[in-house]
């Protein structure tokens, strides 16, 4: 793909990024940071290509470490974001917190 086409894609993606992310409220900035961490784990693809196509030990080593790092990013990032965001959602199944909520929430 010619460089200029890739720059076209980059510019459009930057516009999308700025528009979308400026809509995320401060409340959700911490989960956003960990979600974007997970998303840049996409460099894993680079690692897969390096290891997948090479036969020399050094490249294999470099690539495998990259795969390892990228996978931690992706798996850890999405899971931890999910854990955080799960806290923002009411949990109607658990009895105890629902009980507690009455004290704080309903007595206004």
């Amino acid at each position: 793909m010619p460089l200029i086409t890739e720059i076209t894609i980059f510019v459009l993606a930057a516009f999308v990024g700025f528009e979308v992310i400026s809509k995320v409220p401060t409340t959700l900035h911490t989960p956003l940071m960990s979600q974007t961490n997970a998303i840049h784990g996409i460099v894993l693809l680079g690692g897969l290509i390096v290891v997948g196509l090479s036969n020399f030990w050094l490249d294999n080593l470099i690539g495998t470490i990259a795969i390892f790092f990228g996978t931690i990013n992706i798996v850890g990032g999405f899971l931890v974001t999910d854990r955080m965001l799960g806290m923002f959602v009411r949990k109607p199944k658990k009895e105890e917190p629902a009980e507690k909520k009455t004290g704080d929430g309903e007595k206004e």
Partner: protein, 471 residues
């Protein structure tokens, strides 16, 4: 391997999969604009990732399945365990560490890509070589910088700004050297650029990453991490350009925009410039040494505080970094519940930079099951302050400091604050009179309507809750 599809990387099918994948990232982040849809959004983004990875694994010629499996399995195990074990209070460190891993992966891939191009023995086209060099340098800076930030936040390295004389000059020279070496490499692009020089640049970038972050105070780490997050994103986008991979370009750019916006948002909320944060060595973590302690303060015990609170109609809780340090969020929630039982209307006022990360307080309080609607933003709560009977400041300091409004010479002058000094009464819970992140004294503590409750935040909240129950 049973399922090897052997797709051509530039085929329309692969490209279409990548389009689906990045669209899911965008939709996922888009849904992250509201707490009720954010979790689903995260899953959508994860689905996008799955598609991208699966597509890549099915590319023509991909082999070496053993090593790939090792990397994937080991990474997954570490990722799952880490994400289960990490404390919510440790999120800033976690984000720093992950960011470093991403940067490191990019730098390594750039190195491998360079080696691959060298091995071909032909001229390396500049439009792939320049992005490769960029992603190597920026990825490496991001890796080392993030690790230092992690170390500072985790307490492995002192949070104090470490200054070497001539620091800035040194950094500038290092950067100039890196750029010069990259130009030399680039000029050699069709006569086999030297791998030695390449590795030297990799090392120089590593040193620069260290030197860049070491002199910044521990408390400024969130801004630094967010900036490095933007770096990692951009380096991933550059790697995508080098590898002709659209999903890498788009995903990297999204992360780059996110990091840029968050960095700017934090700097704005602190009313400081990014340059000041990075180069002024301002964010020293407080040494605990108290400021001018001569002025009289009103001190109060848990029992008196409980009485004041229980007989109020409306109470606003203002949490800060101290609540995170003390892990007091559950105790605070319990205190609020007890007040609720007495018919008191309790809300929480969240300053945009309370704590050490944007949204830090929200995550902690959400963990403690505080309903989302109870968390009020600064702009919403300030007009209500005069009608508030008691404002309880729990481990917050700078974000309530009236000097931001009153004293134009204060380092935090102009930073918007939660105006607890407008409330009828104020109770401040902290361990001493020592300053917060900005290292400055807080007139609020000496105000006639303020009572200080000197205690650890968790302990104090638990004590007050117990006292209220006994009333």
């Amino acid at each position: 391997m049973p399922l090897v599809a052997a797709l051509d990387p530039q085929s329309a099918f692969v490209q279409a999969c990548y389009i689906v994948s990045f669209s899911l990232f965008i939709i996922g982040i888009r849904r992250g604009t509201h707490p009720t849809t954010a979790r689903q959004g995260n899953m959508i983004a994860a689905a996008g990732m799955l598609i991208a990875v699966a597509t890549t694994l099915a590319l023509k010629g991909i082999g070496n399945w053993g090593l790939i499996a090792i990397g994937l399995v080991a990474g997954t195990i570490v990722g799952v365990v880490a994400s289960r074990r990490v404390q919510m209070t440790a999120m800033p460190q976690m984000v720093a560490l992950y960011n470093g891993l991403g940067g490191g992966a990019v730098a390594l891939i750039a190195w491998a890509e360079f080696r691959h191009d060298l091995a071909l023995g032909e001229a390396i086209p500049l439009d792939a070589f320049i992005p490769t060099l960029f992603s190597m340098v920026v990825g490496s800076i991001s890796f080392w910088g993030s690790n230092i930030a992690f170390g500072k936040l985790q307490g492995l390295i002192s949070g104090q700004p470490m200054k070497i004389p001539g620091q800035q000059v040194l950094n500038a020279l290092l950067l100039a050297g890196i750029v010069a070496a990259c130009i030399v490499l680039g000029l050699d692009h069709n006569s086999g650029p030297s791998q030695g020089l390449f590795i030297a640049v990799l090392i120089a970038a590593a040193i620069l990453g260290n030197l860049f972050v070491l002199p910044i105070g521990g408390a400024d780490m969130p801004v630094v991490i967010s900036l490095l997050n933007a770096f990692t994103g951009l380096s991933a986008a550059a790697a995508g350009i080098a590898l002709d991979n659209t999903v890498l370009i788009v995903a990297g750019t999204l992360v780059g925009s996110s990091g840029t916006i968050l960095t700017t948002a934090m700097a704005t909320a602190m009313n400081r410039s990014i340059g000041n944060i990075l180069f002024a060595g301002f964010g020293a973590t407080p040494t605990g040494g108290a400021a001018t302690e001569e002025r009289p303060v009103t001190s109060i015990g848990a029992q008196d505080a409980a009485i004041k609170l229980a007989y109020a109609d409306s109470v606003v809780i203002v949490p800060g970094y101290g609540m995170a340090v003390a892990q007091a969020q559950h105790a605070v929630k319990e205190m609020a519940d007890e007040l609720g039982k007495k018919g008191v209307n309790v809300n929480y006022a969240i300053h945009p930079v309370a704590g050490r990360m944007p949204g830090h307080m929200n995550v902690l309080l959400a963990e403690a099951d505080v309903p989302y609607e109870k968390l009020k933003e600064m702009d919403e709560v300030n007009p209500e302050m005069p009608h508030t009977d008691v404002a309880v400041v729990i481990g917050a300091n700078d974000v309530t400091n009236p000097a931001a409004k009153d004293d134009p010479d204060s380092p935090i002058a102009g930073m918007p604050i939660i105006e607890v000094d407008e409330a009828q009464q104020v109770i401040v819970i902290k361990r001493s009179l020592s300053p917060g992140f900005a290292g400055i004294d807080n007139d609020l503590f000496y105000h006639e309507k303020t009572s200080m409750l000197f205690s650890d935040a968790k302990q104090a909240a638990a004590d007050i809750a117990a006292e209220i129950e006994n009333l």
